[in-house]
Symmetry: C2
Subunit: 417 residues, 2 copies
Amino acid sequence: MIEIDGERLNARLDAFAAIGATASGGVNRQALTEGDRQARRLLADLAWKRGFSVFQDPIANLFIHRAGRDDSLPPVMIGSHLDSQPAGGRFDGALGTLSAFEVLESLDDAGIETERPIVVVAWTNEEGCRFAPGCMGSTAFSAGEIPVGWQEKMTTDGVSFADELKVTIKSLQTAQMLPLGFSVHAYFEVHIEQGPSLEASDIPIGVVVGIQGTRWLEVIVKGQTAHAGTTGLSFRRDPLRALAGSLSSLYETIMPADPDARFTVGRISVDPGSVNAIPDEVYCTIDMRHPNPARLDEIEQLARSSIAGEAARQGCVVAISRSFDMAPCTFAADLQQAIERAAAARGFKSTRMMSGAFHDALFVNRIAPAAMVFVPCRDGLSHNEAEHVKPEHAVAGCQVLAHATLLIATGPGRAGS
Amino acid sequence: MIEIDGERLNARLDAFAAIGATASGGVNRQALTEGDRQARRLLADLAWKRGFSVFQDPIANLFIHRAGRDDSLPPVMIGSHLDSQPAGGRFDGALGTLSAFEVLESLDDAGIETERPIVVVAWTNEEGCRFAPGCMGSTAFSAGEIPVGWQEKMTTDGVSFADELKVTIKSLQTAQMLPLGFSVHAYFEVHIEQGPSLEASDIPIGVVVGIQGTRWLEVIVKGQTAHAGTTGLSFRRDPLRALAGSLSSLYETIMPADPDARFTVGRISVDPGSVNAIPDEVYCTIDMRHPNPARLDEIEQLARSSIAGEAARQGCVVAISRSFDMAPCTFAADLQQAIERAAAARGFKSTRMMSGAFHDALFVNRIAPAAMVFVPCRDGLSHNEAEHVKPEHAVAGCQVLAHATLLIATGPGRAGS
């Protein structure tokens, strides 16, 4: 049984929240900014003080290594990210990274040896705000290379990824450099749910079974603009009428019929956008998610045929393209079980759940067994300065992480394998 | 019987279309620009050459006066406007103004005396593009004063209405100045339909019985933004779902149930407008029109209650405000009859119809009997460089105008009164 130090963990969350703190209590610590570097240095300093080794790789992923009895074995890796959204919260990423470091310190405090080494990781640029896409660090780690074109990416104010990366790596120059990617025995990541369901069901621990598949569509319905006053119904080719009819029917069918489905229209605009003109063209995006790829296909097909049908009924034409397609991922069953056993051992209720959002664990899962622990956040709010996690939930997540890590790291095989 | 000179009329339309001509065959001759002044000077020069008197008033309405036998009688006024949309057509306004001038010349050519004087008018700023609202000239004329605040209006590039008005009036300084407003016996205006119905039914003359009432609503539906992936249905307060449901039902009920009703959503936007976020807030405009004010009330009530109902169903709140409210107008019955008689006398089919758009005649109708003649335009297109009127339809409209004007101007009473 390992006991983490909840007070220390919550004090650490406060200390890191001070780096890039915003007036409204949130955090602006975007990837590869000075704030991000400061947070990385603080974590590295804490690690050095405890005598852990600190490494980084060519994409500035930061690793803290606590030796195992057999240090040649692939490590159990735990962690998350330290970068934030521009108006982000204190917990998204930081909670998982600092919980992981707390596990390392607690093991050390208790003098517990593990068979395998344990590595804490802070992945680079999970949020993807300054440089898209997100999850750059874990993507490059799992691919073993930095994808072509990333170094040339620029922020909107003209700063290059390559330059920011160089400065960031240099700001931690005493950390030993590792090549990109190494064998990982198992990966755990604690994260806030970023949704409302754990809080609503009053369950402190979510055992994440996988990450939903996501597809984005860009929809253009083209009709014909005409005068709002002079154009009778039979002369109208109104693309907004077509789209409203179709969306209304999709809203009423997709999610109500399937609790695992997600259907969201986040952007809509019309051209020419004049109060007294029938629109010429309507544009919208559709974000569709489902854990089952076959159902995702069905939902996409339903959306396409509904929009095309309504458009034809209104004399309009349609162009629909996919702008993003991420297959669902399923986390390792034995790691899910380890999390469940850990929660039960510590007396926390837990529930299995899908993740609606992407995480670094999705990319690590491509090369090593991975799983995630979710904790509740207030009102489901995230990517928001008001993001909040109750201290006892932060402690619960960390305690479960510590227990599950120990289950997996103590023997040469994985729990249940 | 009076014969207008169709060739002269169509040549005049070409000559005026050359002022502010655009590369695509349209016209950019916005109110109180140099192009507008040039068109006014050309018309005034043509008038002076024929020996007509030219006047203007403090809002730069331009009047051309042909004396009657009893010049003390209130004149019959005919005309329209010379200003255009930025990417406007050759006929919107110009057709009515030049048809009116053609009537004056034809009367003169034929040596026909009328009992009453006849005045051709070119109203200032009908389109309202540089300075809103539209129909400034006819509004001020019918009110007898320039409304408070108009002189201070500015274009988006910082030019004031007062300055542009001053320069415009000065550019025609030999025209005698009249105070704002005078008694008018009757007013006729020829205009393109700006809608598709005359062309579709192959009828060259529309006898306009009135102008629909128009109301504009601004609708805000406020929900709560949340993550598209993590937020299940029961946690969603999606304002776009609410609005799409309501609009879809309004589109399917209001216009299909009532051929006189118009229902148009010309603008829609969402905040924050992120592909993977449920919108926080949706904004749209609604343009509603009907000839019957009681039905307009019902349509507004229907829209309000449908939106409020769907919003409540989605846990959203609604704010709806009226941004514009123009009561329907009914044109003078005897002037409508005069137009019908004129069309019949010249062998043109005619049909009674409402105008879906506003016109200067609506404002003149507040102080004097008014009526309008519509002619077909290709595909119902207007406010568009491709706007087109067949030469024979231009001639037909002008011929009917001449005939109706003569019916009303020859005696001291109005036809049928």
